[in-house]
Symmetry: C2
Subunit: 514 residues, 2 copies
């Protein structure tokens, strides 16, 4: 199995018809090898991956390489004898970061070894060297801090923690699709570019081609701004341009939520969910905010507030059980290195019915705790609960997930269904230990007159919401939905503290690397 | 089962603690009822949905409602007797578009009927009337054209065709995740906002907060534009602003492809794929272009060109088989109403090995066909194959899917691996009947020096690609990937002609409704 087997001679064809023999299909993932342990001893396999650590021993005649291919947390030990390998020299091969594609025979290591199986390499099919080992940003010699790794977004998946997060994130994605499909819900791709502002208040990114148009025309961009009076601006007057000449002929934004559009689909197809990126142009530099993050938003016709509490509870429990079932190796690593209680927390949440308590009751409890617990923000009926209050409820008072429902209308969005008391809306938040709010949802206002009044009260431009009112004009139904932030779920599951470490390419003020 | 059961009295709790009994969990999807057919006769069920058509008969004492809930193409017939229902009047209930949540008993219809099962309604739990039936945009009285429906994006999922597309799109999404997960590939969420231009040529949307900043400051936006010389602009000089004051402190764009970032993950974790929205600010008004569309992009370490041909072929066949297995009712509807050959096409593609032909050979074949077929664009070695050529190859010459590989370097992107002939690159396109190119992919250039030269030759700013070169500096591997446009796949599968009908909320020049 030398490199030459990669290029089967096809002399009779012109050069442009040449194709190498496939290489990927013959490769065995390390996960499959380690899962089978010594059952595979004696098998000939092809393995590819990156050297995490290597050492040359026995007077330079043997190299031991710890190789990881990302298929699982654990690495496989490769034993390379100089006699078998012409190039590159063993010392180069043993450099951290080097890539190798090798063939060899699996075997139980001789003598005492912590490995249960290793690979005796017989041929190095391909090797990708590390150009300048001293410059490699992920040397094995030091424990790299996560904030340092954020400067190397393109290389950090070679780090154990980031790799574990990647595997867990992928599994949570699949679990999400599985959960909702089992319920018969349809995955709907709601738009990313929108002319609609779901919350009516968000800090939104604008999407435009005006700059590149001006660049092409090689001129200064001058735009007269007058909110909601775009027609005041004029293409000709003093060389200014208006949004009329923009790609969508008006202002367009990045979505802050797919909810309103998902409602349109729910009001035709019953159960739907959207799972995609959402955006906030908030100038937040905290460890809990991103400018771009992924949301899961189910929307369900013929469902009321209590229904979505039930769905939300089942969904979170499903995710926890899924991780315990499919990601135990990574969970154990996270528990060992980052958060001792990570596994216990998943087990608790997956097996404990969630407490359900009204906002009014929650405020009473928090006010009653004033003696024993000082909050930074004083608790009184009408405030938006802060993270400190949410975590106190779930971690100290109830010691399990809590669903708080029926919030004051004044602190919630216009589309949430007004309760009969006229003071509260049919909203609910799911609070979990470690992160506080994991899910926010509500029953939607399905009554035309009340919804219209609430849009007016909120001072929103009615014409943007005509489509939304149409859903109430033509066969309105009670319906409800919620949103789960995937990154919040990952913070909860991994025990990591910074949201920038649970998304592959974090975006925040001043940062959109790659 | 009257409306009052929805509101269980909870007199001992304050109003804000009030919760209705859940309603969604007791509802039976129509799909489940029709799948079981008469096996469910005699069962009491709750059904919710929208009236597609209704008629009042027997002197106004009975209404027959054809109700659809989106769970499947077929509707259930509801029989409502006036004696059972106080409100609304039967004539209102029978109006197209009305929503109903009813309980009743399933039964085999008496006498001759095309229905195998119907629901004898005993209580109307909820009904959402159509405010002004004459204004309802989807009346039953006329066959609505798809282009007309595009003006009602929020209501068109109530149309049979759009609903069928939604179900097929959802299934293709799940099939995609299933396929790659079975291969052990990780789903990676590559960024939407990027400072990088993958193709180096794309028409990109810019993402900015400069307009809203200027709006808040209530001033005109004046921006001096000078490509790649952002420091020339100055915040103070003449009141102009620079991208330094933008959210990301430089120009940021919407991604045109997640490939480059997916490569970073593949060069650490081996097999990955990204599935998300991508954007092109092309001023195209055709039936084949969108400004926002969804792409599936696997990226595989230790894989060469032939490997990804194999993966691409398996993936497309998997999708076809999945649709035949899970969406047959919708496929039959599409075949009946839009494209007779839709099912045959899926069967052909799912069961036939794909033809593989080099670009050079394909050009020879096309040139040899010049006698029998006139092309709008003349064929000669070096041209980018147009849709007419692609379709001719797959539909007329081979009558099956074709993979064309080894394209001239001059018409392909800088990152594609240069072949030994120096004239072609290791690229491949999968062509299928009806749409032509369905997949485009390549082996990536893994050799540092050659890649660097190609970046220079393409005139791209080197600093943007340092991360990409790093992947070749530190343990480079042969790797390859491809991209499939989900909407193309849907055009292929459904037989529909306009791409705007296979995405829920199409975006194109001048249009970003909702």
């Amino acid at each position: 199995m030398a490199a030459s087997t990669m290029a089967a001679p096809t002399a009779e064809l012109p050069a442009a018809d040449h194709l190498e023999t496939p290489m990927a299909t013959s490769r065995t993932p390390i996960r499959a090898i380690l899962a089978a342990t010594d059952a595979l001893a004696g098998e000939r396999v092809v393995v590819g991956g990156w050297v995490r650590a290597g050492r040359v021993q026995c007077g330079g005649t043997m190299a031991f390489l710890t190789v990881n291919d990302g298929s699982c947390h654990a690495s496989l030990q490769l034993v390379v004898e100089a006699a078998w390998v012409a190039h590159p020299p063993l010392a180069r091969l043993a450099t951290t970061g080097t890539s190798v594609l090798v063939s060899g025979v699996l075997r139980v290591p001789p003598g005492k070894s912590k490995e249960r199986i290793e690979l005796g390499v017989e041929a190095v099919i391909e090797a990708g060297e590390v150009d300048d080992p001293a410059a490699y940003p992920l040397p094995k010699t030091r424990q790299l801090k996560l904030d340092h790794l954020r400067d190397f977004l393109h290389l950090r998946p070679r780090n154990d923690t980031i790799a574990a997060v990647a595997r867990m994130r992928s599994e949570l994605t699949f679990a999400t699709h599985s959960f909702f499909r089992e319920l018969g819900f349809l995955c709907v791709h709601t738009p990313i570019i929108t002319t609609n502002d779901c919350e009516g208040a968000g800090e939104m990114f604008q999407v435009t081609t005006l700059f590149s148009q001006a660049q092409k025309a090689d001129r200064e961009l001058k735009l007269k701004l007058a909110a909601h009076h775009e027609h005041d601006a004029d293409d000709d007057e003093e060389g200014t341009v208006s949004f009329e000449s923009d790609f969508f002929r008006r202002q367009a934004f990045l979505t802050v939520s797919g909810q309103l559009q998902a409602e349109a689909y729910a009001c035709a197809l019953s159960g739907v969910y959207t799972f995609g990126p959402t955006f906030r142009a908030e100038n937040s530099h905290t460890s809990r905010h991103l400018a771009e993050f992924w949301m899961v938003e189910p929307e369900i016709a013929f469902a009321n507030l209590q229904d979505i509490m039930n769905y939300a509870e089942s969904y979170v429990q499903y995710l926890c059980k899924w991780l315990l079932e499919h990601c135990m190796e990574d969970m154990e690593f996270m528990a060992k290195t980052h958060d001792k209680s990570a596994i216990e927390r998943l087990e608790l949440v997956s097996s404990t019915p969630f407490e359900r308590v009204s906002y009014t009751k929650a405020v009473e409890i928090l006010m009653g705790s004033a003696g024993s617990k000082k909050f930074q923000t004083k608790v009184e009926w009408g405030i938006d609960l802060a993270s400190e209050h949410e975590r106190y409820l779930t971690e100290v008072i109830f010691k399990k997930p809590v669903i708080v429902y029926n919030y004051p209308r004044g602190i919630k969005a216009f589309y949430m269904r007004l309760n009969d008391d006229q003071k509260t809306v049919a909203a609910m938040d799911v609070l979990v230990p470690k992160v506080g709010e994991l899910i926010g949802g509500s029953q939607r206002e399905e009554r035309f007159d009340i919804l219209k009044q609430r849009i007016l009260d909120a001072g929103l431009p009615m014409e943007s919401y005509e489509f939304y009112l149409d859903l109430r004009r033509y066969g309105s139904v009670k319906h409800s939905g919620f949103g789960l932030g995937l990154e919040r779920m990952l913070l909860f599951a991994t025990g990591l503290d910074n949201i920038r470490d649970v998304i592959p390419f974090p975006r925040y003020p001043g940062k959109a690397d790659l």
